[in-house]
Amino acid sequence: MAEVEETLKRIQSQKGVQGIIIVNAEGIPIKTTLDNSSTVQYAGLIHQSVMKARSTVRDIDPQNDLTFLRIRSKKNEIMIAPDKDYFLIVIQNPSD
């Protein structure tokens, strides 16, 4: 547990990381470093995106599954590690 906390702290302190959100399987955030409204917004929207992406991957080959999702935008990059029970979302702006 301590290692997890440490790693989270390290990630948070990396250059350009704007926030970390951990969302459970239903889209409810369970841990976040952003403010409330952003968290909820991100959680909801990203949840849908991930569902769609996963559905896409699995439709093509049902034995396949989504392991990582990166959305690169102009201003930042959203990285999502999906799992059966949770999503790990990190928003980073690497050119900061």
């Binding site: 990630i11 990396q14 951990i22 459970n24 399987a25 889209g27 909820v40 699995r58």
Partner: protein
């Protein structure tokens, strides 16, 4: 058909079991027929009347007698026996061929009235048609159509056992019929069969007398008379006192409205989308649920991901999608909570569990690497000699002028661009700041893995040592951290088992770690060994002996040199768990008497007069020969076969030798560096160095040949890092990189596959530099080196 419900306006009838049973439920229809029948016999009339009476008392329906063999008596309230008597007395003798006609015929299509008409036709059994029908049904030979009729007529069927006598006779008859049937065989088909047709008695079922009578008939007169009498009567009727009109009024039943209201049936729409993978999932999970292919709801845009194919979770997923959509629409305050959402289902784990789970850690690990990759991407690309791509979205920070100038200079054909070092990044974290980097080693199998040992050189200010395994993918935090009880002074990765790391420490302990595991403790430790080193271990190396001297020598062995003057071979027996540190103690006594000029060896006992050994290096091709450097400044060439004598001694240095290294390309050339500010280049057959290099008046801590070019080597002294290219100049280093002020550079390592150099300093940082615009020429330049040596020697002579 609707049987009118019992209207008990007539005197109730008691039904006693003594009377004959009757199927009252059928009486409704029978009544119809009955009333139409023109009764001839008194019997029949009586029975009719009683029948009708009985029909009114429908209570008897249910209580229709289950008692077999009991005759039922229907008694009026006055006690009169109004038991209907059977209409028909069957003649058992008579062969009822017509039975078969009835029974065999498919009555399913026939309506009820038809059915009854047929029954009346035959008058086979009409005790009362009820019993008849019952027995009929009881016989079980009737087709299913009659079943339906029966069902509509009565709820209960009596047992076949409860037949009446006549039914029994019927069944007898039936049995006879059956028997007859059985006897018909194939061969009988050809027989001549005689059929006799006889006329039976005429049965009158319906007799409707005509209303009009012919004038010619015999009754005409009486009819006429009757008619006339009637008209006269009608005429006399008016005004006659004999007749009185009386009106009656029928009661209208008070109507009462009655309402029933039922609860509205709540409807819920359920829909799902069946995806390809959904079907696959359900197939794999042993096909529990079915796929509902229904129309999409208006939330069709949300693709539902269904983990398990059970009903409850499915609805949960749907509600989840509902929730998520509603979140966007209206951010209700209940959604704002950060507390974990407690769901009453065992498939949703606790958030605490999530945070502690293995997969989460793994994901965090990967995520961290990815983030760092984002940050360090240009640097890593440069390291791996990939073209660095400019981020198109990042704002251009540098002034465009500078860029163009640089471009100009690179396009300049006049002079070669000056070789330089570009600092890419540095491995450091908060754990390592303040520690002195004492040694570095690449992993033999994974060229991205670097082990760095931290430990002080000097005797004072000793603190617990540290070994960190860094990965190129994460320059900000080491992959493995091992804490050792004393400062680490030497490191080496094994070649045969690539995850074994040997560590030599300042207190003489040698330990091996398995970097694959997450354990913080060494696999083996030499602190229990009797013959362990008592002084700092300055170098460890895994050496692969190809030529085995004895059976035990084959394989990889760990050789160490320490300041107590011994080069020891640590032997790991091939047992699985039991690692036997059997050190083959080959003592190399480096005591040297200058006056005598002789070389004295020493035997087992440790005497303080052994010169401390500081470094050694095995010959790249012949693993028997090795060089050892001592604190006195001597280089001894030794062989593994002889543990008593040196083969050669090279003396030139005036201070302790910090590093000896054979050239990887020229097999008899080696370099040595010492604290007397010089680097010497030797050839193994000459007892004086071929070339000496001195650039500053600082002790040279480390020197290493470049793995790519034979003429290039790097050296690190206290104040700066130098890259020498002998093909370019033998007097000055080609590239010089000064250290940051206050920091001493202590170790150097070339990267094996790329043009990068790693420099460790006394502040715990390992900086990665890339050699830019540097090339020593085509090929490995072995020839150049030999030429240089040759020319130097020639010039010396």
């Amino acid at each position: 058909m609707s049987i009118p419900t019992a209207k008990l306006k007539k005197p109730t009838l008691k039904v006693t079991p003594s009377s004959r049973a009757m199927n009252i439920s059928t009486s409704g229809i029978l009544r119809l027929n009955r009333s139409a029948t023109y009764a001839r016999s008194i019997n029949a009339s009586v029975s009719r009347k009683s029948f009708c009476l009985a029909a009114d008392s429908k209570i008897l329906e249910k209580s229709s007698v289950q008692t077999p063999k009991h005759t039922i008596q229907v008694l009026d309230e006055n006690g009169k026996d109004v038991t209907p008597r059977p209409v028909y007395q069957p003649d058992p003798a008579a062969v009822q061929s017509k039975h078969s006609k009835i029974f065999a015929s498919d009555t399913s299509g026939g309506t009820m009235s038809d059915f009854y008409s047929t029954t009346y036709q035959t008058t086979t059994n009409a005790s009362f048609a009820g019993a008849f029908t019952r027995s009929l049904f009881g016989s079980g030979s009737v087709s299913i159509g009659s079943q339906s009729i029966m069902e509509s007529m009565s709820e209960e069927i009596e047992d076949p056992s409860s037949k009446r006598d006549n039914s029994i006779s019927l069944s007898d008859v039936q049995v006879k019929r059956e028997e007859v049937k059985e006897l018909i065989q194939e061969e009988m088909l050809d027989d001549m069969v005689d059929l006799y047709l006889v006329e039976s008695d005429t049965l009158c079922l319906l007799d409707m007398p005509a209303i009009s009578v012919s004038v010619d008939s015999m009754e005409a007169e009486s009819v006429k008379e009757r008619n006339s009498r009637y008209t006269e009567l009608c005429k006399n009727r008016t005004g006659n006192d004999k007749y009185m009109g009386r009106s009656m009024q029928t009661f209208n039943g008070a109507s009462k409205t009655k309402e029933v209201q039922s609860e509205a049936i709540t409807m819920a729409d359920a829909a799902t989308i069946a995806n390809n993978w959904d079907m696959y999932d359900s197939f794999c999970s042993a096909g529990q649920g079915e796929v509902d292919l229904s129309t999409d709801t208006d939330k069709a845009s949300i693709a539902e991901m269904i983990h398990q194919n059970h009903g409850p979770t499915r609805t949960m997923e749907r509600t989840m999608s509902v929730i998520s959509s509603s979140t966007i629409v209206s951010s209700s305050s209940s959604r704002m909570e950060m507390e974990p959402f407690v769901v009453p289902s065992e498939s949703k784990p606790d958030p605490e569990l999530i945070l502690q789970s293995e997969e989460f850690q793994q994901h965090l690990f990967v995520m961290e690497r990815i983030i760092l990759e984002n940050i360090y991407q240009p640097k890593l690309a440069a390291y791996r000699q990939l073209p660095t791509l400019e981020d198109p979205d990042s704002m251009p920070k540098a002034v465009p002028m500078v860029v163009s100038r640089r471009e100009e200079s690179s396009l300049d054909e006049e002079g070669p661009p000056t070789p330089a070092l570009e600092r890419l990044w540095s491995f450091s974290c908060e754990l390592t700041t303040g520690r002195n980097v004492s040694s570095m080693a690449w992993n033999k199998r994974n060229p991205d893995l670097l082990a760095v040992g931290y430990g002080q050189f000097a005797f004072k200010d000793q603190k617990p040592g540290l070994v960190c395994c860094w990965s190129l993918k994460n320059p900000s935090w080491p992959e493995r951290i091992f804490t050792c009880q004393s400062g680490v002074t030497a490191l080496d990765f094994s070649a045969s088992s690539a995850s074994m790391l040997a560590v030599g420490m300042h207190d003489g302990t040698i330990a091996t770690y398995n970097v694959q595991s997450r354990e913080k403790t060494p696999v083996i430790d030499s602190s229990d060994c009797v013959h362990k080193h008592t002084s700092p271990v300055w170098q460890v190396r895994w050496i692969n002996h190809e030529r085995a001297l004895s059976g035990e020598d084959k394989g990889e062995a760990l050789i160490s040199v320490s300041a107590d003057g011994r080069i020891s071979k640590w032997f790991l027996r091939k047992g699985l768990d039991c690692i036997d540190l059997m050190k083959l103690k080959r003592t190399r006594n480096d005591r040297f008497k200058r006056q005598v000029g002789e070389k004295e060896r020493k035997s087992e006992a440790l005497i303080s007069r052994q010169a401390p050994g500081l470094c050694f290096d095995f010959h790249p091709t012949d693993s028997n020969i090795y060089l050892a450097g001592t604190e006195e400044g001597h280089i001894h060439k030794c062989s593994c076969s002889y543990n008593e004598q040196f083969l050669e001694t090279y003396q030139a240095h005036k201070g302790p030798l910090y590093r000896i290294t054979w050239s990887p390309f020229c097999s008899d050339v080696f370099l040595s560096c010492s604290s007397d500010w010089t680097i010497q280049l030797w050839r193994q057959d000459l007892f004086t160095p071929v070339l000496g290099f001195m650039s500053t008046q600082r002790a040279v801590y480390d020197v290493m040949w470049s793995p790519k070019w034979a003429t290039v080597f790097g050296a690190v002294n206290e104040g700066r890092m130098e890259i020498w290219d002998l093909g370019a100049s033998i007097l000055d280093p080609t590239i010089v990189n000064p250290a940051s002020p206050g920091v001493k550079l202590t170790s150097l390592l070339f990267a094996t596959e790329t043009d990068c150099v790693l420099v460790g300093d006394s502040d715990g940082q390992v900086s990665v530099y890339q050699l830019k615009n540097f090339t020593a020429g085509e090929g490995t330049q072995v020839g150049t080196l030999e030429d240089i040596i040759g020319s130097t020697l020639a010039s010396q002579l």
